[in-house]
Amino acid sequence: MSATERPAGAAVAPAGQPAREPDARRRTSGGSAGPGSDRRRSRRGRPLSIRAQRAVAAWLLAAPFFVLFLVFFAGPVLASLALGFTDLRSTDLRHPFAVNFVGFDNYTRLFQDETFRTAMVNTAIFVPVTLALTMALALAVAVALHRGIERFRTLFRVGYYLPYVTSIVGVAVVWRIMYQHDSGVINRVLGFVGIDGPNWLESTTWSLPAIILMTAWRGMGFQMVIMLAGLSAIPSGMYEAAEVDGASQWQRFRYVTVPMLRPTLLLGAVLGTIGLVQWFEEPYVMTRGGPLNSTLSVSMFTLNQFGFGNYSYAAAASYVIFAVMVALTVVQFRLLRSNT
């Protein structure tokens, strides 16, 4: 048993009254106690008391963190979890405890709520599509930067990373202007090649793809940095060996780069998914979830419900996102573990 796992009671007990009973019990049950066991006990009493002092000191030193954690982290988290099982509304603010306990009512209502289901479906489309697109683009850029491009490599790296460190709200505002139907840059460029661009953000068909495109563009730099780190960890000898064996460029990519990069790709996917499931700012700035809820995310749904004063309902919705994220993370870490 390590010191940290030692029960607090046992560490404190021997100070005044030597804990004879447990020892006696051990003696009878073990049946192998020698004659000197009593002396050993009393000798052990002193170090234990020092240990007790240490334990007290340790708890005292840990107390500030522990109290802060309880008050500012565990407390609100558990309170919000409990909140999801009540019918608290904004009109109950003066008497927050005078509410009814409604069990899983909020959760069953959520899954019957058409708007919430729309938000879930949007999220279920948004996350995998954006992730796949982001990682494909990032992989292409990372490989090109790592192998192909010699000059201005740093400039390109910074260039691709820059969107990720730029304020998401600023980026979204600029893209909203670029997506404008008549005057937007994107439709003008499409016009040069003879394509009559859609009214991106006002169309129920194109608004979600438009947001996916922007998010992938912005998230690409982050994935690229992770992948560059992964690429530089691949021994160049492997490429040389493959080249000697007559592997083509594509084969080298397919059979050397991708397998060696697998842990890196999984790490990127885990980090990416956690971020994407909580997507919020992009539709909040660009479409407000519209048109007709076609870009409503679960986080936005939660915020709206909170705004309507349905605090318990919003709490339940946020725990649904939480559960989804935990499940996804567990799955992805399983994948990571089995492959490394």
Partner: protein
């Protein structure tokens, strides 16, 4: 001691037990007791410190009136805290929960139901004369039969139109629905506008443009027993009419922010429905002489000629430590001459009817029409769930105008969702 190994689980159990012990469900602490008579206010000048929260421009400029008040009440000190609009709802909610409310706060008219229902607001004393205010504005303060605030300033919606285009098309401002349709058609076909009229096609706040048509058709969103009536025949009739402007290509399906004003100035949009703030915006963006080119018209009359009334109320909180003086400050702000001064300071329109006798308001060709319309203007019911039901209406209006949902189906969907949301009682 498995508890230390599973702190989360043990804490959760503790939290739930604490909740169960402290909670014990809803009691009879419904504090909106309409039957109870409100308390009176003491006589004599105000004393002590009065803290006031106000949003937007009102928050920035209220200290001007506060200084006058302090001069008249030497023992009183008014502390004005400006609160940004985006933050205001949360800040007031938090203050109610923590019982750290100010003495007085400006309250958006659509928030009244929620805050009054929470029991945080003091009932309006009888010293305030209901008849002095515009009836539609007073109704925003009434929750479950009792008033919990006083209207401070108001706004209502009229039809802005291009005078020159109307002359060119040879049409007079409309007085009923058919004429409004003909008016928009003429502005488009003969007046040269790309769009005859702009009506908000959906999105946040479009109910404010749509509901007046329901009221004009003689309908309402709630019956006298407090039940939603969103699928009434008048709701369908109004939405049919509203939708027809979009199907007949008289109104644009979507506009970017700022586009409305520039297109109206360019003559591409012939008319639109909006509030008094657009007078200033149009004068600014239209340049010199543009005010000769546009005018405002009253809402068309079918069963009624009702428009929407918005604005803000002033409420005193129950947790106020200086209640009497707080109400005295509200009383001061409700004096006709102070309301006029307030109009001259921030251009907020008086909620007190006699304030409109001042020549600065009654003599203004645009504003006098707003004053006229205010006598027939309604607000949505002051129930805690209004904002949520309003969002439902916004969404369904959008489905009917931009999408291809039939108005009858849209109002049915509104009613279904509103019934499941309830009225917060």
């Amino acid at each position: 001691m498995t508890g230390w190994k599973r702190p989360a689980a043990s804490l959760l159990v503790t939290a739930l037990v604490a909740f169960a012990v402290a909670g014990c469900g809803r009691g009879d602490n419904d504090e909106t007791s309409g039957g109870q008579a409100p308390q009176g206010i003491s006589t004599g000048p105000a004393t002590g410190t009065i803290t006031v929260w106000a949003m937007g421009t009102e928050g920035e400029k209220l200290s001007v009136l506060a200084k006058d008040f302090e001069a008249a009440n030497p023992g009183a000190k008014v502390n004005v805290t400006p609160v940004p609009w985006d933050d205001a709802h949360n800040k007031i909610s938090t203050a109610i929960a923590a019982r750290t409310t100010p003495d007085v706060s400006m309250i958006g008219t659509t928030w009244m139901g929620e805050f009054a229902k929470s029991g945080a607001l003091d009932q309006t004393p009888a010293a305030f004369d209901k008849a002095a205010f515009f009836p539609g504005a007073w109704d925003t303060t009434v929750v479950d039969g009792a008033s919990y605030a006083v209207p401070w300033y108001v706004e209502t919606r009229l039809i802005y139109y291009r005078k020159d285009l109307a002359e060119k098309a040879g049409v007079q401002p409309p007085t009923n629905w058919q004429e409004l349709k003909d008016f928009a058609t003429a502005l488009k076909d003969k007046g040269g506008a790309k769009w005859g009229i702009n009506l908000q096609p959906g999105g946040t706040g479009s109910w404010q443009t749509y509901l007046p048509f329901v009221w004009q058709a003689g309908g309402n969103v709630m019956d006298s027993s407090g039940q939603w009536t969103l699928d009434s025949q008048q709701m369908t009739q109004a939405l049919d009419y509203y939708k027809s402007f979009f199907t007949e290509k008289l109104a644009p399906g979507s506009l970017q922010p700022g586009q409305l004003e520039s297109m109206f100035v360019d003559g591409q949009i012939g008319s639109f429905v909006s509030g008094p703030w657009h007078i200033g915006i149009l004068k600014d963006s239209g340049g010199a002489g543009f005010e000769q080119k546009f005018d405002v018209a009253m809402m068309p009359r079918e069963q009624a000629g009702t428009s929407f009334v918005g604005g803000s109320d002033l409420a005193v909180f129950k947790d106020s430590k200086n209640r009497d003086s707080a109400w005295k400050f509200v009383q001061y702000l409700s004096k006709p001459e102070v309301q006029v001064k307030w109009y001259q300071t921030v251009a907020d329109l008086p909620a007190v009817q006699t304030g409109w006798n001042d020549p600065s308001l009654s003599g203004d060709p645009f504003l006098s029409k707003f004053g006229e319309q205010l006598k027939d203007a309604k607000s949505p019911p002051a129930v805690p769930t209004w904002e949520q039901v309003a969002a439902v209406i916004d969404g369904e209006v959008e489905k009917a105008t931009v999408g291809d949902t039939a108005p009858a189906d849209a109002v049915k969907a509104m009613q279904e969702q509103a019934m499941s949301i309830g009225t917060g009682t």
